[in-house]
């Protein structure tokens, strides 16, 4: 089932890339959307089949040898955390593929790359083998490179190059850490479950170096300050749909990796470093929010909020891994919060980026100073943006609040000062989003936008799905939270 979720979009990508050349654009897109629905359905099925009450953290496992000499296998499976992130991945990809954008006459390639990325992303979140994880981690760069460079605007090629180089540096750093973990096992293996059980570097002097390598690699992807500078460039030049996927899904690879590798496999070392990581997370939170506040470019502003929001996730992780035993309830809550925040950020930020895409398609302008008062002209678009903004700034009843609250409440038990300082980030986020809304949608509208058209039905559908889910997670978080919390409790309890 999980393998099918990975393979189907990949096959779809191949089919669309090869056969799609002769199809019309709507047909290609329809095929693409239909293909993305398959993994979505499969993930939902996996969710149903998943037993949160079980003592087995990882379920629905497939384990096939790949390079047995090096202990590498094709191992996939889910826990509550992977399931949650995989689910949001499937949703975001469906929306991103469906969301209209200019495809420059290369619809088949465009859709194929998206399907490829979906396969890769799902593969990453479902993999239970470090090398497999890395394979998908790296491939995501390839797909995103082509999406940005081919369908981006302005200086897209350069931004794509920077993105690729920078994040490849990160992923290779991660690779070294992964290898160090694998070779420390006897016999060598990259089976996550085995490594988690063995904690091979618990008493090793290498552990710190490995942690640094892994955290740098994942930190670049996340991105954590000061490894974030690839992000705004990539986002601004990227097509909005790619930005949605980049922010909504790809960034999660960093934090998801932090759960899987440093948090679970380097428990003791992670606990020792928890305070440092937490401080970096808080720096990310505040710095990301402040820099976002300083942006006049709509997309850059949203891009920087990702730095801020992913900071909450990292803070939650730092808290969850701060000690090996003790404070179980709070740490489980923090880990749950971090995961829920990943889901929420995936939904909300992709909505925001899709909206920027809708705006770009209409105006080709990201400068917020050029806007104002759009609420009257394009009420649906404005409304969607305002709703997403409030979700992003953590309004209760919307998805963003759930994770943030859990993160901070959970963190307080172990790092109270960090939690308190980090809270200021919430305030800054509120300020920056309110300012965004105010500058773009309220006040006087410049005359040149008087012919702006509101959202099309397709846009309403894609955004609608994401926003409905945002509200659903906010209002009835239990389904999500309990699944995640089951895994989180097992992980912190150990």
């Amino acid at each position: 089932m999980l393998t099918a979720a990975i393979v189907v979009p990949l096959l779809g990508a191949v089919v669309v890339a090869v056969a799609g050349r002769r199809w019309s654009e709507p047909v290609v897109r329809a095929v693409g959307v239909a293909t993305t629905l398959v993994p979505l359905a499969l993930v939902v099925a996996a969710w149903v089949a998943f037993d949160p009450g079980s003592d087995e953290a990882f379920q629905l496992v497939t384990d096939v040898e790949w390079i047995p000499t090096l202990g590498v296998g094709y191992r996939v499976g889910v826990d509550g955390i992977g399931l949650a992130v995989a689910a949001v991945t499937a949703v975001v990809f469906t929306a991103a593929v469906a969301h209209p954008t200019e495809m420059r006459g290369l619809a088949h390639q465009y859709v194929a790359w998206f399907l490829f990325l979906e396969s890769v992303s799902l593969g990453l979140f479902l993999s239970l083998d470090l090398v497999l994880f890395y394979v998908f981690f790296d491939l995501s760069l390839v797909g995103m490179y082509f999406l940005i460079s081919r369908w981006g605007h302005d200086d897209a090629e350069r931004a794509a190059l920077k993105f690729f180089l920078y994040t490849l540096l990160g992923s290779l750093s991660l690779l070294l850490g992964i290898i160090a973990l694998g070779v420390s096992m006897d016999p060598i293996t990259f089976d996550m479950r085995a490594i988690i059980a063995a904690q091979p570097l618990a008493d090793s002097s290498q552990a710190v170096a490995v942690l640094v390598l892994v955290m740098v690699g994942l930190g670049i992807k996340t991105p954590m300050v000061p490894f974030h500078t690839w992000l705004p460039a990539a986002h601004v030049e990227a097509p909005a749909t790619a930005s949605a996927v980049l922010a909504g899904v790809l960034l999660k690879m960093g934090t998801f990796g932090m759960v899987r590798i440093p948090f679970l496999m380097l428990r003791d070392t992670f606990a020792d470093a928890s305070l440092v990581i937490g401080v970096l997370a808080v720096v990310s939170i505040l710095y990301g929010a402040l820099v976002a506040l300083g942006q006049d470019d709509l997309k850059r502003r949203i891009a920087y909020t990702s730095v801020n929001h992913m900071g909450y996730v990292v803070l939650g992780l730092a808290a969850a891994g701060s000690v090996v035993t003790g404070h179980e309830a709070a740490r489980a809550l923090a880990l749950t919060g971090a995961t829920v925040q990943m889901v929420a950020h995936g939904l909300i930020t992709s909505t925001l980026f899709l909206l920027t895409g809708s705006i770009w398609d209409r105006t080709h302008d990201y400068d917020m100073d050029h806007y104002g008062g759009l609420l009257g002209q394009v009420p649906l678009l404005s409304g969607a943006m305002i709703l997403a903004s409030f979700a992003s700034l953590g309004l209760p009843g919307l998805a963003g609040f759930v994770g943030e609250f859990q993160v901070f409440v959970g963190t307080f038990a172990v790092h109270p000062v960090l939690a308190a300082v980090g809270l200021l980030g919430i305030l800054l986020t509120a300020a920056l989003f309110l300012q965004l809304v105010q500058r773009m949608f309220l006040g006087e509208m410049p005359d040149r936008w008087s012919s702006l058209s509101d959202l099309t039905p397709v846009e309403m559908a894609t955004l609608g799905v994401l926003l409905v889910l945002t509200v659903a997670v906010g209002v009835a978080p239990r389904l999500l939270v309990d699944t995640v919390h089951a895994a989180a409790s097992l992980f912190v309890g150990g």
Partner: protein, 474 residues
Amino acid sequence: MQMSMQVSHVGPQLAVLVGAVVTLLVAMFTGRDRQWVNGPLALVALVVAAVLQVDLAGGPAVLAFDGLWALDRMTAVGSVTVVIATGLVVALVPGWLATDARHGEYYPMLLLGALGAMVMVAAVDLNELIVGVVLSSVTGYVLAAWHRQSAWSVEAGMKYFLVGGLANIVLLVGAVLAFAAGGTTDHAVLAVTLVDADPWLLVPMAVTLVVGLAFKAGAVPVHSWVPDVSQGAPAPSAAFLTVVPKVGGLLALARLATVVPIDASGWRPVVAVVAVATMSVGTLAALGQDDVRRLLGWSSVSQAGYALVALAVVGRSERAVPALVLFLAGYAVANVAAFGVVTALRGRTALADWSGLARSRPGLAVAMVVALLSLVGIPPLAGFASKFAVFAAAIDGGMTWLAVVAVVNTVVSLAYSLRVVAPMFLDDPVGPVHVLDRWSVVAVVIATAAVLVVGLAADLVLSGATGPVLPELP
């Protein structure tokens, strides 16, 4: 370990030799319009060689021919790699040399060059090794300079020769030093006698042996021929010369690493510094290239550096030699694929000429991207599996810092690879693109498929190459 002297132990090499003789005779005694027959003939010889080699691999590791010849897993997989790479190159030749009056003689040269590399891989005696090096070198000079009327080609051949002459002298010095220190040239005996030797001999010996063989590997400081040959030599020759001698030289070094007292001779720092210099110089120099073939040449230099990373931990990690073999196999198919694309595009080399290739020749463009990304090490291609294995060996062997340097270089290598990829996919075509012939395209397809296969079925190579490396210490 058994001693024996069965002709079957050199069966693959004999097959190649017979192929060389037959193709030479054909070249001498058939008309110009029928010299293409040599292509299929050479392929037959190589296939026979590969089959025989695989057949031999099943047996136990033996030292044959009075300790001149090692039959172990490394020999087997290394030789098969050489044979396969040569076979792919053979397919590139007919179209490329169609106009050449001496078309036919190219094949025996190619086969003898491959034979030289196979000798290097299997030699367990310094004399034998040097003869292999000379055979490989001498054919290499000729292959590089094959276009007698092309200024670039003869220049490449001459430069290859001038560097090679000096490098072989260095290698000879190393051999004499080893002989002085160990009293023989036989690896199996040296492995015992060198243990007590004077470091005053061991250190210069390690340095000269490594530098001497670095020439075959295209490593610093004797690397300058690689870009020249890549750019100037006939493209099939370039494909061959950047791959096959490298396999021979590096595997010969790996074998020496089991003989030389690693710590007393300073072998490890020597290899490490050469590795670092090689990958860095190759990568950085490639960064500025506007000539695709030259870029591939520099990239080939840097790849030698990554291979040397694995070499640096031979003896410390039992994964080193399999990793090295896998790396060379992955590198071989990827590099042949890249040069195959160049060949199929009739030697197209100015970067500007590659614009828009994804539209005009999508298949070849994809092959080039696959090859380049594999050289960078993007999964699931061969380059990933092999770099992964190399890094694993390096970390396992406690030389993580080398892996870190390799990582940094890998990132930069992505930059120059994308310099080729980006115009192919993002720019508009600049004019008609002509393709050489069908065989070169077939070779590209097979090589590209092999890049994927080696990536996905890396275990085949790894487990195939796992085993004792002769001569084992008693």
